[in-house]
């Protein structure tokens, strides 16, 4: 086991992917010589050469379009989108082409492209640099959408995403890049939890807290704080946002009878709405309370001095947990 930051764990995972398959390429703005603005690709150009780690022009639509062309011819490009809000110019390529080519070509065309997106707020970086656009992609059939929450998952999930034959939108929790965790860099991914499975991050008995990405840590801290009130909170890290692992979700809710979903994205029409509907449909007779949601407001991402009010924190999450006991 090695102690790595989440950012470094991604770097090590990408390094493994480059080593294991000569068809893997990394491309994006400043990913080469600089190593990415968050240094996720630090040193990879030096070690793997300029033909495999490519500094592209600032042109997200062109980057993703080019990656699709490379994938059409058997490559496995990993595109870095520098900040979440910068993915919008590439959404057309992702939604109209990347997600649909396999279907349209009767399975004759595979597009194993990974789009890495640092997401969410918490670093004082204002709008365009702090957004949570995951539902744009979960709503689009044909894309896998995943979010890692800690260093160990970052290391394995990025490798699983690169070797996956479906296109993967890979969300990285920007404000957790510097969080450290234990990673077994010698372990292969064959025995790891599959990419499309959720994980019980903390077992509990009274209420299920569903979360992903940057809020997993917040929810774990909330669960520990809730013990002071005598409440046993189970935290489930969804990991895969599309497809959803409803098996793990419903098993947890059937056990606890209560459910809160938390994400940074706006509550309105967010992933929590879909989860709440599914949990209600599938666990109706087990529920002691309605499924509650905690998330961002339906506003643009606020200026940096206001973001602490926008982002779900312990108080808001624990308040929702409390409310599930009021029915």
């Amino acid at each position: 086991m090695t102690t790595l930051t989440l950012s470094r764990a991604l770097n090590e995972g990408l390094r493994k992917a480059l080593e294991n398959d000569p068809k893997v390429l990394i491309m994006g703005e400043d990913v080469g010589k600089l190593g990415g603005v968050f240094r996720v690709t630090d040193g990879l150009m030096k070690d793997f050469g300029e033909n495999r780690v490519i500094d592209t022009p600032l042109a997200e639509s062109g980057i993703v379009g080019t990656a699709i062309g490379l994938a059409l011819r058997g490559y496995r490009p990993v595109c870095e989108i520098q900040f979440d809000g910068f993915v919008y110019p590439a959404v057309d390529q992702i939604v109209s082409q990347l997600a649909k080519m396999r279907y349209r070509s009767l399975g004759n065309v595979a597009l194993p492209v990974v789009i890495r997106i640092p997401c969410g707020g918490g670093i004082g970086a204002v709008e365009h640099h702090s957004e949570s656009p995951e539902v744009l992609f979960t709503h689009t059939a044909g894309l896998r959408v995943v979010a890692c929450a800690d260093a160990a998952d970052a290391f394995t999930m990025i490798q699983q995403s690169v070797s996956c034959d479906d296109p993967v939108i890979f969300f990285e929790p920007k404000r957790r890049y510097w969080d450290k965790g234990e990673v077994d860099t010698a372990a292969g991914v064959a025995d790891a939890l599959p990419l499309d499975r959720a994980r019980v991050a903390l077992e509990g008995a009274d209420v299920t807290l569903l979360c992903y990405g940057p809020l997993v840590r917040t929810c774990l801290e909330s669960a520990i704080a809730a013990r002071e009130d005598g409440r046993s909170v189970e935290v489930v890290d969804l990991r895969s946002l599309s497809p959803l692992d409803t098996e793990v979700i419903t098993a947890s809710v059937r056990k606890t009878g209560r459910c809160v979903v938390a994400h940074e994205a706006p509550v309105y029409a967010g992933l929590g709405a879909e989860i709440a509907a599914r949990v209600t449909e599938q666990c109706f007779y087990c529920l002691e309370a309605p499924v509650l949601r905690v998330g961002g407001f339906h506003t643009p991402y606020p200026p940096s001095r206001l973001e602490e009010h926008y982002l779900p924190d312990l108080d808001r999450i624990l308040d929702a947990v409390d409310r599930t006991f009021g029915y």
Binding site: N51, T56, P57, A59, S61, G62, I63, V64, G65, T66, A67, I68, G69, L70, A71, L72, R73, G74, Y75, P77, P89, D92, Q93, S96, Q97, M101, R102, Y103, R104, S105, L106, G107, N108, V109, A110, A141, G142, C164, D165, D166, S242, P243
Partner: protein, 339 residues
Amino acid sequence: MTVREEENAGTAPAIGRDELLTLYEQMEVIRRTEKAAHDLFLSGLVKGTTHLAAGHEAVAVGASAALQPGDYVFATYRGHHHAIARGAAPAECLAELMSKGTGLCKAKGGSMHLTKASAGMLGSYAIVGAHLPMAVGAAWSAKLRDSGEVAVAFFGDGATNIGAFHEALNLAAIWSLPVLFVCENNLYMEYTPIGAVTPVGRPAADRAPAYGLPAEVVDGNDVVLVAEAVARAAARARAGAGPTVLETLTYRHFGHSRTDPAKYRPAEELQQWLQRDPLNLARQRLTSAGVPEAALTAAADRAAAVVAAAVEEAKAAPPPDPEDAFTDMWADGGSAWRT
């Protein structure tokens, strides 16, 4: 930085009489397929829309004649001619238009997305300009593998005003990739004259110098001139000299789409272009080369027979299986487990 013809003299193989007759027959097949698509639409047998390429035949057939089987072609929603020129059968194209289970994509693509990856036809794209960066990526793969293949992106004049065109030219130029950007300038961006929305006279060729790329304006209705220009550009690309922009001048015989009678086009303009029908030009070349009229008639008759049989085959084909709507979403072949 326009390539002058004399600079490239000798790089293009001459098209012989027999080959030209074959190209003429292919153009007849495409023309008749498009006419059949139009008639099927008017009979209510095409559900959806069509963007017919009648008038553009020489661009597709000329380009295909100059390409290798391993090269990659990316076309637009007006792409029936490219699919057929690359080897798709008229029957599977018409079946796709008619939403039949035997269609090229089992009706999942429709008129706008004809794709035959096995023939190097890497798709038709209905989002204008979207496929230009993809062609760049395919060309990049050829360069990485040193395969000698080239990628060709066909696009309309309207695509030259969208960002993806400019991003793609820039990307291809900086990496000196083996890609041909072939504009089919038919004077109209859907319903609007391209000149009314573009500040330069040659929407593709005039932009190329901004990216340091060579460009050539070509008579897109003359299959021989198209083949020669594409052969020159492909030779440059294969030699590692990078991308070329070709602007072929051509004209739609039908409107933009099925609902467009194209009344906005001046009658004189239409008349002039119909006189320069690519099939007529090919016939004139063949006649000048001494090919007897009977051989031309025989070629046209063979094309007519192929298309007539294709129409009957497509009409008789079964509809797609509704279950197919749930296949090939994912690498595991299915989709249902992710509902």
